[in-house]
Symmetry: C2
C-alpha cells in the first residue's frame, strides 16, 4: 500500500470528506483517512501538510484554471471573469456536488475554517485582478470586474449546494451574472417603487 | 477627571489612534490612552472592552446609519445601498480622514486585525441585505445589490485614504458606483477588444 497510487490525492480527499461527514472534523485522524483510502500515512503527508489542508488543497488548481481562462477569454472584463468562473465550474466542480456539500457543512461549522476560506477567496480575487491587469485592463476596472465576478460566483455557489437544487453550477453562474447586470444596470433615476 | 466628560468616547478614540501611530499598537497601554485623553482608566473601560475595541467601536454607529438610510431611501436596491454608504461617508467619515488613515495603517500591519475587519464587513453586509429584504426586495437581488455596494464602498474608501487624494469620500463613492455600473452594463456580446 505504500507505493505510489494513481489518484492518491483524489482518494484521500474523498476518504477525508466522507469521514469528516460521518464523525466530524475534529474526531477524524490522518490514520483514519489513510486507512479509508487504502493508503498509508506517509502517502497522506507527502500530499498534504495536515488534515485541514485537505479542505483547501483545491485552491491552487482553481487559481490555475481561473488565470488561464482570464488570459484566453476575449470579452469585456466582467464577462471575462464570469466566463473564467464558468470554466472552473465545468472543470473542477461539476461532478463533485456531494463532496462540495460535505465540505461546506464542515466549513460552516467552524469560524476558524470560515476565516481561512475568506482569506483564500480574497487571495484568489487578487490573483484574478492581476490577470486582468496583465491584459491591459485599468486597475479600478480590474478590481470592480473581479469583485463583481466573485459576488456572482459566491451567490451561484450557495444556490448550487442548496438542498434540492438540480441546476449546474455553470448555468447558475450565467443566470446570477445576468441578475447582477440587471441589479446594477438601472439608472439612478427614476427611483423604483418599494 | 473621573467624572463623566462630554465626548469621552471621541477623545479616547483620538488619543488611542494618535498613540498607536506614534508608538505602535502593541506598545500602547490603556493607561497611556486614558492619560493622553485626560481621563482615567475606569472611564476607558466603561466605554471599551479593550484597546482592540477602540479600532472597531465605530461599527455599530455605522450599521445604525446604514440601516436607517436603506429604510428611508426611495430608489432601486443598488442605488439605495450606494446612497446609504454616501450618507455614512458624510455623517461618519467626512471630518476624520487623518484618524482613518492611522487606523488603516494599524490594521494593515496585523493579520489578526485584518480578519476582524473582514468579519465586521461581512456582518455589516448581512445587516444591509436584511434591511433591503425588509422593504420587500427579493433575497438574491438584496444580496447582489448589497455586495455590489460593499465593493463600491471598499474601492472608494481605498482611494479616499490613499496619499494625495483630496476628493470627498461621498464623491468617490458616487464615481465608483458609476464605474461599476459601466463595468457590469456592457452586454456579453460583442466581446470587447483586449
Amino acid at each position: 500500500m505504500a507505493r505510489w497510487q494513481p489518484d492518491a490525492r483524489g482518494r484521500l480527499e474523498a476518504a477525508a470528506l466522507a469521514l469528516f461527514n460521518e464523525r466530524g472534523f475534529e474526531q477524524t485522524t490522518v490514520t483514519d483517512i489513510a486507512a479509508r483510502a487504502g493508503l498509508d500515512k506517509r502517502t497522506f503527508y507527502r500530499l498534504f501538510g495536515d488534515k485541514r489542508e485537505v479542505l483547501f488543497s483545491g485552491g491552487s488548481r482553481l487559481e490555475e484554471v481561473l488565470v488561464k481562462a482570464v488570459a484566453e477569454t476575449d470579452a469585456d472584463p466582467f464577462e471575462t471573469v464570469v466566463t473564467a468562473f464558468r470554466q472552473v465550474a465545468d472543470e473542477i466542480f461539476a461532478d463533485r456536488l456531494d463532496l462540495v456539500r460535505v465540505r461546506q457543512t464542515i466549513i460552516d461549522a467552524s469560524p476558524e475554517l470560515q476565516e481561512r476560506e475568506l482569506r483564500k477567496t480574497n487571495g484568489l480575487a487578487a490573483t484574478v485582478a492581476a490577470a486582468l491587469r496583465a491584459k491591459g485592463v485599468g486597475e479600478t476596472t480590474a478590481t470592480l470586474a473581479t469583485e463583481s465576478g466573485v459576488t456572482v460566483f459566491r451567490v451561484a455557489f450557495a444556490r448550487w449546494v442548496a438542498p434540492g437544487n438540480d441546476a449546474s453550477l455553470a448555468d447558475l453562474i450565467a443566470e446570477t451574472a445576468a441578475e447582477l447586470r440587471a441589479v446594477t444596470s438601472s439608472p439612478a433615476t427614476p427611483p423604483a417603487r418599494v
